[in-house]
C-alpha cells in the first residue's frame, strides 16, 4: 500500500530523469558557459561579462538581430492572419472542406523538410518558376534571393506558406462557437464584418493567443530556411540569429560566446512571451465554459 503513494512518480520517472539530464542541466550550463571563453581545446576560462560586451560591439550581431526582428514581425502576423482568414472561409458550409483542409495543411507538414527548402531556392532563383510566371505577364525578372532587400521576404514567405497548422487549430476553434450566437446577431441586423469582429474574434482570442506565442517562439528560432536557401546571404540579409549562433558555436567552436548569444536570444524570446502573457487580460476573452 505504501507503493501506491509513489506509483505516479514511478511512471513519470523517465521524464523526470530526462528533464534533469537533457533540459535542466544544459539550461544552467549554458548560462554559466556564457561567462567563459571555451574553444574545446583548453578548459573554459572565466571572463565575466566580456562575451556580452563584445556582442554589443559586433556589427554582425547588430545586423543579425535586426534581420531577425524584421523576419519575425513580418512572418508571424502574416502567417496568423492568413491562417485565420482561410479558416474563417472554410467554416462556412463549404463543399469539399476536407479536401481544402488537406491541401492547405500539406505544406506545413512537409515544410520542415530540406526538400521544401530546395524547392524554394529553386522556385525563386533568377530563372526559376516565379520569374517565369511573372515574365509571362510581361514583368521583368526579380532577383528574389540575390537582392538583399527581397531575400528576407522570400525566406519569410516560405513560413507564411505553411500556415496550415495554425489554420487547423483556428478552424477547430471556430467550429466550437455556438450557432445560436450568430443567429441572435443576425436577427439584430449585424453585418458580417461586425459579427466577425464582435463575436467571432473575441471568442477565439484564447486560440489566437496560443497560436501567436507558438509561432513567435518558433520564428525566433528559424534556422533551416535561411541556412539551406541562402546560407544567410546575400550580404547577411537573411542571416537570422540562430545562424549566427550556429556559426559561432559549431563552426568556430566559440562555445562561451555562442552560449552568451543563445542566452541573449532566450531572453528576447522570454520578453516577448511575457509581454504577450501580460497583455492577455486586455484582449483575451475567456468565458467560464468548459475549456
Amino acid at each position: 500500500m505504501k507503493l501506491k503513494k509513489y506509483e505516479g512518480v514511478i511512471y513519470i520517472l523517465p521524464w523526470l530523469v530526462g528533464l534533469m539530464i537533457f533540459t535542466a542541466f544544459p539550461f544552467i550550463a549554458s548560462f554559466l558557459l556564457s561567462f567563459t571563453n571555451y574553444n574545446l581545446m583548453s578548459a573554459p576560462s572565466f571572463v565575466g561579462l566580456d562575451n556580452y560586451r563584445t556582442m554589443f560591439e559586433n556589427e554582425l550581431f547588430k545586423k543579425s538581430i535586426t534581420t531577425t526582428f524584421i523576419y519575425v514581425f513580418v512572418t508571424v502576423p502574416l502567417k496568423l492572419s492568413f491562417a485565420l482568414f482561410i479558416a474563417y472561409i472554410l467554416n462556412f458550409k463549404i463543399k469539399g472542406v476536407n479536401f481544402f483542409r488537406t491541401a492547405y495543411y500539406l505544406p506545413s507538414i512537409l515544410g520542415g523538410s530540406v526538400a521544401i527548402a530546395v524547392l524554394w531556392r529553386f522556385l525563386f532563383s533568377d530563372s526559376g518558376l516565379i520569374n517565369l510566371i511573372i515574365g509571362f505577364f510581361g514583368i521583368s525578372s526579380i532577383s528574389w534571393l540575390g537582392n538583399p532587400r527581397y531575400a528576407i521576404f522570400t525566406i519569410s514567405l516560405l513560413r507564411v506558406w505553411q500556415f496550415g497548422s495554425p489554420m487547423v487549430i483556428f478552424l477547430a476553434a471556430l467550429k466550437n462557437i455556438p450557432e445560436s450566437l450568430y443567429e441572435a446577431a443576425r436577427i439584430d441586423g449585424a453585418s458580417k464584418v461586425s459579427i466577425f469582429f464582435r463575436i467571432t474574434l473575441p471568442l477565439i482570442t484564447p486560440i489566437v493567443f496560443f497560436n501567436f506565442i507558438m509561432q513567435l517562439v518558433q520564428a525566433f528560432q528559424e534556422f533551416n530556411g535561411p541556412y539551406i536557401i541562402t546560407g544567410g546571404g546575400p550580404l547577411y540579409s537573411t542571416y537570422l540569429f540562430p545562424l549566427y549562433i550556429y556559426d559561432n558555436a559549431f563552426k568556430y567552436f566559440r562555445m562561451g560566446y555562442g552560449s552568451a548569444l543563445s542566452w541573449f536570444l532566450f531572453i528576447i524570446i522570454m520578453i516577448f512571451t511575457l509581454i504577450t502573457f501580460k497583455s492577455e487580460k486586455y484582449w483575451v476573452h475567456y468565458d467560464g465554459g468548459d475549456e
Partner: protein
C-alpha cells in the same frame, strides 16, 4: 364617401403590393448575394489552393524534365520524360548512394518513434491518473518546457554528448526520446487521457488489476489513436530534422537523407538541378505516403494539443 374609401383601399393594396414586390426583390437580391459570396469564397479557396499545391505538383513534374527544360517551362508536364535525374541523383557525387542515406535515416527514425511513443504514454499516464506530492509543480515545469526555446540547450547538450563519446553516432539523436523530452507529445497524450472516462479502469482495479495492467490492457487499446498521432508527428519531424544531424554527425557514411540532399546541392559549382529536384521528390515520398494514409490522425492530433508546425 364610398369613392374615397375605395380609393383608400386601392392605395393600401398598392402600397402593400409595393412592399411585397420590394420584399421579393430584396429576397432575390439576398439569394443572389449569397450566391455571389459563395462564389467568391470558392474562388479564394481555389486560388489559395493553387498557390499551396502547384509548387509541389510542379516539383514532381520538373523532376522528369531535362536540365534545360526546367528553366524554360511553366507547365508541370515535361515535354519528354527524362529519368536521368533520378538515376544520376540517386548515385550522388559521393561514394555512397541514396540507399545508404535512406537506411541511415530509418536507423534514426524507427527507434526514435518507438521510444517516443512508449516514454510519452507512460509519462502521460503518471500525470493524468495519479496523485503525488509536487505534481502541480512538475506539471507546470512540463508546460514551461513546451515554451523553452531549444536554442538555449544546444551547446551544452553538444558538449555533454561529446563527453559521452557520442559524437558522430546516432545516440544524441535517439536516446533523449527514451526520456520523453518532447513535452509536446506528453501534453498531447495527457489531453487525450483526460477525455477518457475512468469507469473501466476503476472496475479493473476492483477486479484486482495493478496499475501497470490497467495501462497495458485497458488504457492502451483506447489510446491507440493518440499513440498513432504521436508516432506520425515524430516520424515527420525526424524525417525532416536537419539541424540535429548537422551538428552531431560528421562522417558522410552516416548522413541521413536531409543532410545528403543539402550536400548534393553544394557539391558542385554547376548545380545539376534536375538531379536535386528528383532526389527532393524521393525524400518527400515517405512523408507524403504517411500523410495521405493517416491525415485524419494529424488533424486530430493537432486540434487536441495545438501542436506546432
Amino acid at each position: 364617401m364610398k369613392a374615397k374609401e375605395t380609393k383608400q383601399k386601392q392605395e393600401t393594396t398598392q402600397v402593400n403590393n409595393a412592399i411585397l414586390e420590394n420584399d421579393l426583390i430584396l429576397r432575390k437580391r439576398r439569394v443572389r448575394r449569397t450566391k455571389i459570396n459563395e462564389g467568391i469564397r470558392y474562388a479564394i479557396l481555389a486560388i489559395v489552393g493553387l498557390f499551396m499545391l502547384y509548387p509541389l505538383v510542379w516539383l514532381v513534374g520538373a523532376s522528369f524534365k531535362s536540365n534545360a527544360e526546367i528553366f524554360t517551362s511553366i507547365g508541370f508536364l515535361p515535354s519528354e520524360f527524362d529519368f536521368s535525374g533520378y538515376v544520376r541523383g540517386w548515385k550522388t557525387s559521393t561514394e555512397y548512394t541514396f540507399t545508404t542515406y535512406f537506411i541511415n535515416t530509418f536507423k534514426i527514425v524507427i527507434p526514435k518513434v518507438i521510444l517516443t511513443v512508449i516514454s510519452t504514454t507512460v509519462t502521460a499516464y503518471g500525470f493524468a491518473r495519479f496523485k503525488f506530492a509536487g505534481k502541480k509543480y512538475l506539471f507546470s515545469i512540463l508546460i514551461a518546457t513546451l515554451l523553452l526555446p531549444n536554442v538555449v540547450l544546444r551547446i551544452p547538450q553538444y558538449l555533454m554528448f561529446r563527453e559521452f563519446n557520442w559524437l558522430d553516432t546516432y545516440k544524441p539523436l535517439i536516446v533523449p526520446a527514451a526520456f520523453a523530452v518532447d513535452a509536446f507529445f506528453v501534453f498531447m497524450m495527457i489531453q487525450f487521457m483526460k477525455g477518457i472516462p475512468k469507469d473501466l479502469e476503476e472496475a479493473a482495479v476492483i477486479d484486482g488489476c495493478n496499475s501497470l495492467q490497467v495501462l497495458l490492457y485497458i488504457l492502451i487499446p483506447i489510446l491507440k489513436p493518440a499513440m498513432i498521432s504521436v508516432a506520425l508527428f515524430q516520424f515527420m519531424w525526424t524525417m525532416n530534422d536537419f539541424l540535429g544531424p548537422l551538428i552531431y554527425l560528421s562522417s558522410v557514411k552516416k548522413y541521413p537523407v536531409s543532410i545528403a540532399l543539402k550536400m548534393s546541392m553544394d557539391a558542385s559549382a554547376l548545380v545539376q538541378w534536375n538531379q536535386i529536384i528528383a532526389m527532393s521528390v524521393i525524400v518527400l515520398i515517405p512523408s507524403l505516403v504517411v500523410f495521405f494514409i493517416a491525415q485524419k490522425h494529424f488533424v486530430d492530433g493537432i486540434t487536441t494539443s495545438g501542436l506546432k508546425g
